[in-house]
């Protein structure tokens, strides 16, 4: 229950300033419009839209998700948190917050994307939905752990995407593949191997982050 309290604390402090949500929303709009401008009147292929969709998601995640731990370090509240809660509780609280942020962010991205790109047509909705859910969980978990590392490393901003990219690479490659499958209307049975990779990735990442978070969190 403590982790829920932590999560509520994060929500409250977020609602007070709306810093993360505002900057994230603006970042999403900026990223999509950069893509739209660079495309211009060109007709781009379906495959490219599927890939660019994950480019937007990756960079938006990198711009917004580091806040979870960096804000604690900036305000100097890390020590208090260390005193009142166990590391896994803290991690759960932050993970729930980031999960909700990722799901909200990616829903907005998907809606905007579907509205603005004519080529982005999903034929197999169920497959896309499952990819979306499983991919978002993996994204949230990995970026939360890396955010914790970054916060302890003195919150170097440029380091965050550098550290996250290799870890997220298996997830992104498979998600791009699955999105293309969903756009092509591939049947469920043919995509089962890629889905299995993402599910394995999620499980491995979740268990590894809970095991290793103690070492990151305690000084």
């Amino acid at each position: 229950m403590k982790s829920y309290a932590l999560f509520q604390k994060d929500i409250n402090s977020e609602l007070r300033t709306r810093y993360a949500v505002n900057s994230l929303a603006m970042f999403v709009i900026v990223a999509i419009s950069v893509i739209l401008f660079s495309i211009g009147n060109e007709k781009i292929s379906e495959n490219l839209t599927g890939g660019l969709y994950w480019v937007v998601i990756f960079f938006s995640a990198m711009s917004g998700l580091a806040r979870a731990f960096v804000s604690e370090e900036e305000r100097g509240t890390t020590l208090t948190l260390q005193l009142i809660a166990s590391p896994s509780t803290v991690f759960t609280g932050k993970l729930i917050f980031n999960l909700i942020l990722v799901f909200a962010m990616n829903s907005v991205i998907t809606l905007l994307y579907a509205a603005l790109f004519d080529e982005f047509v999903i034929k197999n909705f169920l497959l896309f939905f499952i990819t979306f859910v499983v991919g978002n969980i993996g994204l949230a978990v990995s970026s939360t752990v890396i955010a914790a590392i970054i916060a302890k490393a003195g919150s170097k901003g440029t380091l965050y995407p550098v550290l996250s990219f290799p870890i997220l690479l298996p997830l992104i490659l498979t998600s791009v593949q699955l999105t293309l499958f969903a756009m092509d209307g591939t049947r469920f049975g043919e995509a089962i191997f890629e889905l299995a990779i993402i599910v394995c990735y999620d499980i491995i990442m979740i268990s590894a982050s809970y095991m290793l978070f103690d070492f990151i969190w305690k000084d």
């Binding site: 870890i167 690479l169 491995i204 982050s209």
Partner: protein, 234 residues
């Protein structure tokens, strides 16, 4: 002393044998290699490229292994071992990437074509790069050691997806991919016994060389730390 001379002779022999032994259709003499369909003369890179790729993975494993050891015992010597392994791993990773790209130019026609194997070695290169970037960003010794250990472990448990699972299941150009019919037996060892012998000799020689350099490397890091501590203490 003697094993060093032995190692020198072994590596010399492997290099000469790997490059100079002829590839013929029906090997009869002990120094002749068989033709592997689809690879022909290009096959000779196996004596140099495969050991570098193998050592990249070994070094990566040792970085993570000594990371775990450090987190358990909090002994900075383990961090030095992990650091030395990663340094060597980076060198071998670059070597594997370059030799692979040069080979690909002759075998597939272009230096880089995002074959699953190339993607996986590229991911490894990125991980090593990120690992060193993380280390250089942190001042305090203890924090540097524990955070980089954690990162090495996280990276090590996601990389098997790339190095061991994906290239075998995905279709690709690299020998040993899923749809490989002609050159596939490289992995199942269609090489004849003498080629196999030289391949394993080369693998062994490079592995011994790696452990030798690693040994010197981590000791020098530990001594450097000790000297620095003595100097700062005045």
């Amino acid at each position: 002393m003697w094993w060093k001379i032995g190692l020198f002779l072994l590596i010399s022999f492997v290099s000469v044998a790997g490059i100079a032994f002829p590839i013929v259709e029906k090997p009869s003499a002990w120094y002749e290699f068989p033709i592997i369909v689809g690879l022909e003369e290009n096959a000779k890179i196996i004596f140099f490229h495969v050991p570098t790729a193998w050592l990249t993975v070994i070094a990566f494993f040792m970085t993570a292994f000594y990371g775990v050891k450090f987190l358990r015992k909090r002994n900075l010597d383990d961090d030095a071992k992990s650091y030395a392994a990663a340094q060597l791993g980076m060198v071998f990773c670059i070597l594997a990437t370059i030799t692979g790209a040069v080979w690909a130019k002759f075998a597939w026609g272009s230096f880089w074509s995002w074959d699953p194997r190339q993607t996986s070695i590229f991911a490894l290169l990125l991980i090593y790069g990120a690992w060193f970037a993380l280390r250089s960003a942190i001042e305090s010794e203890d924090k540097k050691a524990s955070l980089s250990a954690v990162y090495a472990i996280i990276a090590f448990i996601t990389v098997p997806f790339f190095i061991f699972i994906m290239p075998r299941l995905m279709t690709g150009l690299h020998p040993g991919s899923a749809d490989d019919t002609t050159a596939g037996p490289v992995i199942n060892f269609k090489m004849n016994s003498n080629m196999l012998l030289i391949f394993f000799l080369s693998l062994a020689a490079f592995t011994i060389l790696y452990f030798w350099i690693w040994n010197i490397g981590y000791k020098s890091i530990i001594y450097k730390d000790k000297i620095n501590k003595l100097l700062t203490r005045g």
